[in-house]
Amino acid sequence: MTPDLLILAQEGATGSAAAQALVTGLSLGSIYALLAMGFVIIFKATQVLNFAHGALAALGAFLVAALATILDIPGRLFPGWPAWITWVVSLLLALVVAALIGMALERIFIRPMVGEELFAIAIVTLGLDIVIRTILNDFIGVSARPLGNPWGIEVVDLDWVRVAHTEIAQIAVTVALVVGIALFFRTRTGVAMRATAFDQEAARAQGIDVGRIFSLSWGIGAMLAAVAGVFLSVHPRGPAGVSQQTPFVAFAAFPAIVLGGLDSVVGAVVGGFIIGLVQSYSSFLPWAFLGSGFGGVVPYLIMLIVLLIRPYGLFGTEEIRRV
């Protein structure tokens, strides 16, 4: 289910295994945090449990692969530019397209469901997940599509630990995006989004265009998913590129979301890093008797235990039940 995710933890056996697992865990955690953050933003603003988030992540990664390597659009338009610049241009283009697709999905499939039962809307996204994933798989084909990213498989060898350039990029980008989102929530639009999350009708009465906030949250969510998808499809997490397995890997972000609490952005980030670190450290515990694939189940077990103690996650708001 989660292939190749922990590949560097084994490779880096020359250095300190614990330090290596820390690096792997942080990088894995940052991917989960990105996925979870996008998910929570969508959930907070629109109350939609987005099962299609994994599919959106894979879609974003495939858009990068399509623009950068398969079609090579920026490379053809500006032949003289260095490869890394054209790649960044394709990445930005892909992010914009991903955000537009997210907005379109919201407008077409989610908007008509406003006011319906939350469960029913969640199942609509489950349907979306099937449709997007199936069509995307047809485009991807049997083998993985490389993203042609400029970092390649370079590593920084610190003697006691080996850090891939992509991992540095991942953690840096995640920190930047978390700070960016935190700052965004302080802007005028961000405050409007928080107000919508708090009470849609009251926000509307204050003159906030709730529909636009819905679109915006799906755009941001899809874009964050796309970034996570890109990092899932480059060395060392998915060395060969985006494949038919990528959406399933993204499913492992669900425990992170529930762990932090469905409606807490802070919780999403914390939950993501917790799941990433625990998954990474669990891989070299002496648990061979538990069989293969145990690392893939660890997040769900943690989620179950935490939910038994705190049914609304670590940072989630407790639902007040009235008759």
Binding site: L49, F119, A122, I123, G127, L128, D129, F254, V258, Y300
Partner: protein, 421 residues
Amino acid sequence: MRGRPLLHTSYEGDQSILNTMTKRLAMSLFLAFLIAVPFFAVGTIGSEGNLPGPDFLASGDWLRLLSTVGIYAIGALGLNILTGLAGQVSLGHAFFMGLGAYSAAILGAPQGALWGLGLPMWIWLPGAGIIAALVGILVAPTAVRVRGLYLAIVTLGLVFIGEYLWRNLDFITGGSQSGRGHPDFAFRLWKEGKALIDLSSDGTWFGFLNLSAQAKTYLLVLLLTVLLVLISKNIERTRVGRAFMSIRDRDIAAEVMGVNEFRYKTTAFAISSSFAGLSGALLASLVGRTIPETWNLFLSVEFIAIILIGGVGTVTGAILGTVFVIILPRLVQDFTNWMQRIVESGDGLLAGLFDVVVSTGPDNFGLINTSAGVAPGLGIDQLNLVIYGLLIIGFLIFEPLGLYGIWLRIRNYWKGWPFTY
């Protein structure tokens, strides 16, 4: 009360399952038809002749499809009790189906390389339901504590944990490579070699009914499905069902009225899991050999789709949804093959029209192809998946009551005809 079918003079009359003459008549005819289906095949009765009727339904592959419908219907009835009546969203149905299938295999399959006790069917079939129900009771406390959308994700985790278990318990499941065989449909008193009634090979009953293995399996599944439909219908219209519905509609209000939330949620989980266990055991035996990946998230989603498309919270809806979801891929496949034959047979208006839709070779554009991987376009399996996802979305947006809602509207139209109300 002649001419006034809706006037009930007793509580029993009001609450009965088939409360009008029309319903009783229609249901009897429908049941008679379902029982007669396998006898439509040529050569079934005596040495020659067969019942006049749609004998394509009596062909082996259609009977098998109808048996699959029955088996899925049992699972759907279970999910309908949990999600439709008690309002607890569960994506964990596939886990309980796998549990039922492997319990049945341990109890019923003969001892070989994998575990098996070789017990008769009257033990392994109920056993599968009981073991699944017990595990359902074990899981229920978590589900009672966790509410709403959190529950959906917890049960999602259950499927992944289950899949991991099945892959690693290879002394029971045979692992991902080879999978394991499941017990046959056959009635024995105990472990004797010759079966009392053998339902999994061709043979003659009562000296004049020549039935194929598929026909016998179909009759068994039909019997079980009817039985479980009756059970769910009775759960729905008695004390337990009303308690479920009160929890679904407003859990605190239900508690205030004296409905013990913990007890009834646990009951709902137990009943639903036992239905799933039975369905899983039957499905595995029908297929014959399963691998751990059979019991994955997609199976759960399929059941959610069935009850949503059919109409949440109604037994009729669960049945309609199953028929629709299981038969549709077959129809799509037949239709695509038919389109391809037309295209290949040459010209004509239809051929030109279908050529746009079907791609027949590597350089022939089309949305669908019949040989996946070679020609552009979606393969039939993929096409079915897309149709299926779009159906889920479409029904939820346009007809939340599902097929049952459509049927109600058609019925009410004709009830008042020629008036509109």
